[in-house]
């Protein structure tokens, strides 16, 4: 399945980012083709949203139409910005709800209460929750509060483990107490695991054939984790090649600022929206080529 994941991955690896990364890793392990659309221009991602709030909701709508399934990680700016007043919050939530309603398979993730300024309630909130087939909640979120808002109660709710505490790849071999294990058996496990990783890299990188040698860019190591913690491969891999976030980032930011500025004035707003739509179409067309 082709899945769009909207939200920010590490780095830095904490909070909803680590949780989302777990989700992405699991999807990839399951053989799905995952594309990440991130709000944070420094996070590992295939593509970046141009601005938080309403524009982010619209971009999810536009991008999501090309996927079989969409996972949306609620976070500040997606769709509700920190400090947003009620009208802005309502518009952002409704926009995202409208956007997701058009899509078939939607999962909404809400990892921590702070990730959704203003909380889950109200008509815009309920409209958003209604779009999701599944709602994944972090343990810090009050599931009862949310269940009370939903007509089907807890049916679609699932509390997931905190990402930072979950190994990205669970040990899939029971080594026991270590006796009786041969080097040949270990070699076999090494080959199998590496092959699985290689396969997932092929999917992430969008390559259909040939061997993939994961080249870790040295500057990625500035995010080197303390022993026992870490940033797994996706962050580095999506940063390589033509989809590197560093490429053209400043241009994109300048364009985003210009568009945001234009949208603040009624006279230039239609043109700005047209430009934004055109840009997203160009990006989509470029990507599909």
């Amino acid at each position: 399945m082709r899945i769009l994941v909207a939200g920010s991955l590490p780095p830095p690896a904490h909070g909803h980012r680590a949780a989302l990364l777990d989700e992405v890793a699991q999807l990839r392990t399951g053989g799905h083709e995952v594309e990440v659309l991130s709000l944070d221009p420094l996070a590992a991602a295939h593509r970046y949203m141009t601005a938080p709030g309403l524009p982010a909701a619209l971009e999810v709508a536009l991008a999501g139409a090309r996927f079989d399934s969409v996972v949306v990680q609620l976070e500040p700016g997606l769709p509700v910005r920190i400090g947003a007043r009620r009208p802005e919050r309502a518009v952002a939530l409704l926009a995202l709800a409208v956007a997701l309603r058009r899509l078939d398979e939607v999962t909404i993730r809400w990892d921590r209460p702070d990730d959704l300024p203003g909380g889950p309630g109200g008509r815009p909130g309920r409209a958003l929750w209604a779009t999701a087939r599944r709602i994944d909640l972090g343990p810090a979120v009050d599931a009862d509060e949310l269940a009370a808002l939903l007509p089907d109660g807890r049916e679609r709710l699932r509390v997931v483990r905190p990402g930072a505490a979950t190994p990205i790849v669970e040990p899939d071999v029971n080594w026991g107490d270590g006796t009786g294990i041969t080097a040949a058996q270990v070699n076999e496990v090494v080959r199998r695991r590496a092959a699985a990783t290689r396969q997932s890299l092929v999917q992430v990188m969008g390559r259909s054939e040939g061997s993939v040698q994961p080249v870790v860019r040295v500057d990625q190591w500035e995010w080197l984790p303390a022993p026992g913690l870490g940033v797994p491969d996706l962050g580095q891999l999506v940063s390589n090649g033509s989809r590197r976030p560093a490429d053209g980032r400043s241009m994109r930011q300048v364009a985003a600022l210009a568009l945001a500025s234009a949208e603040r004035h009624s006279a230039t707003r239609p043109a700005a929206r047209m430009a934004r739509w055109a840009l997203s179409e160009v990006r989509a067309a470029t990507r599909s080529r």
Partner: protein, 405 residues
């Protein structure tokens, strides 16, 4: 004293470097073999250069003759090549697989450094020795001097399958010698692929000294190594796979959140990338007394080099009870790992990462696997066995020389 199969012989080991501070498996092997045969009663000399550093070939030791225990050491000054740029160009062509003309090949051999006094010395005295043992093959000291007295020349080439090994000069050197000594069966097979070999070409094996005791805890304490670590020892250079280790290790600890540091000692600039410094610990050149403790203290030993003809360091690791994680691209190291059942092999960075992950997940299993390595080394690669094989070959050569009159 020499055993019944071999009488007292006068033997010269010709090796480009010898002595304290020299890092290089072939040189070490030649030096230790010289001492071993001398202790068995043979009259042994080491003919070498004044260089310690294989990057600069500067004359660090004084030229002349010294007695080092039972061995007489003759040192000859190196002379640097005049046209380094030309040498670099030829080197690049060789590495890229380009064929050199005969003159270019000689120019390359002679272009980095020469040892003219060694050549002249051997030209005058070669026939005073019963055997001249040249090692390794890739050195002007072997290329030039092996042709002086081929009837008593033994090449201990320490071959690995690299572009230099396919040079016509190497083929001529191997084919023209009276004997070739190989360290392992894969090296022997490579030798057959490279040249028609003389009748006398035994696999004599390699050997390492077996430490009497280890102090891993003391080593960790002395060097403040608080986290588990993977070890790399030797020359920190691309040709030995150091860059690959850095890359693979960085990938592994990021991908699998591994707890390891990478501890290294040896020569060459480790050139640790920015951001990885906190996880790579360079101990520089370690005193030889500390080396066994380093191997025993490690959680695993990384052998990324494909250019191995024997690999002493993996033997040291196994003796210390440490798991070897080796590059399967090396026929020799892969062969050791398969025969011993004490090492695991990788073929790319992903597999290297998985090997390290295994050590983190199952340290007991890793230790159990490594435990088989010590028996393997003790059964196959000790000096008495190697010296027996050398003496047997020397005796065969002597008989052959006598038969020819």
């Amino acid at each position: 004293m020499p055993d019944e199969s071999s009488q007292r012989q006068r033997i010269a080991f010709i090796t480009p470097r010898f002595g304290a501070g020299v890092v290089g498996g072939a040189e070490q092997m030649a030096g230790e073999a010289a001492f071993g045969l001398a202790r068995r009663g043979h009259d042994v000399a080491v003919l070498t250069t004044c260089a310690r550093d294989h990057y600069t070939w500067a004359n660090d030791f004084p030229a002349g003759v010294t007695e080092e225990g039972p061995v007489t050491v003759h040192r000859f000054e190196t002379v640097a090549g005049a046209d380094h740029l030309r040498w670099e160009r030829l080197q690049q062509r060789l590495v890229s697989g380009d064929k050199l003309t005969e003159r270019e090949e000689i120019s390359w051999v002679n272009g980095r450094f020469r040892v003219p006094d060694l050549y002249l010395y051997l030209a005058g005295t070669a026939r005073e020795y019963d055997a001249l043992v040249f090692s390794p093959y890739l050195s002007p000291t072997s290329f030039y001097c092996a042709g002086i007295a081929p009837e008593r020349t033994i090449i201990m080439p320490c071959l690995h399958d690299e572009s230099y090994a396919h040079l016509p000069s190497v083929k001529a050197m191997l084919a023209g010698a009276a004997a070739v000594w190989f360290l392992t069966e894969p090296e022997h097979r490579l030798g057959h692929r490279l040249a028609p070999l003389p009748a006398e070409h035994p696999v004599i094996g390699g050997a390492v000294e077996v430490p009497t005791a280890y102090d891993p805890a003391g080593f960790r304490k002395r060097h403040r190594l608080e986290r588990p670590f993977a070890l790399y020892a030797g020359r920190r250079e691309e040709g030995k796979g150091w860059d690959q280790v850095l890359h693979g290790f960085g990938t592994a600890i990021v991908r699998h959140r591994l707890p390891f540091d990478l501890v290294t000692f040896g020569v060459g600039d480790p050139n640790v990338p920015v951001g990885l410094e906190s996880r790579v610990i360079d101990l520089g050149y370690l005193d030889s007394a500390e080396v066994p403790d380093a191997f025993a203290a490690a959680d695993c030993y990384l052998q990324p080099s494909v250019n191995e003809s024997f690999s002493r360091t993996i033997m040291d690791a196994w003796l210390g009870g440490t798991l070897v994680i080796a590059n399967g691209g090396s026929d020799v190291v892969g062969w050791h790992c398969e025969r011993s059942g004490a090492g695991i092999v990788y073929r790319d960075e992903l597999e290297l990462a998985e090997c390290l992950r295994f050590v983190a997940e199952a340290p007991e299993a890793a230790a159990n696997i490594a435990g088989r390595g010590r028996d393997y080394v003790l059964s196959n690669y000790t000096w008495p066995r190697v010296l027996d094989a050398m003496e047997s070959s020397l005796a065969a050569m002597e008989s052959s020389l006598e038969a020819k009159g």
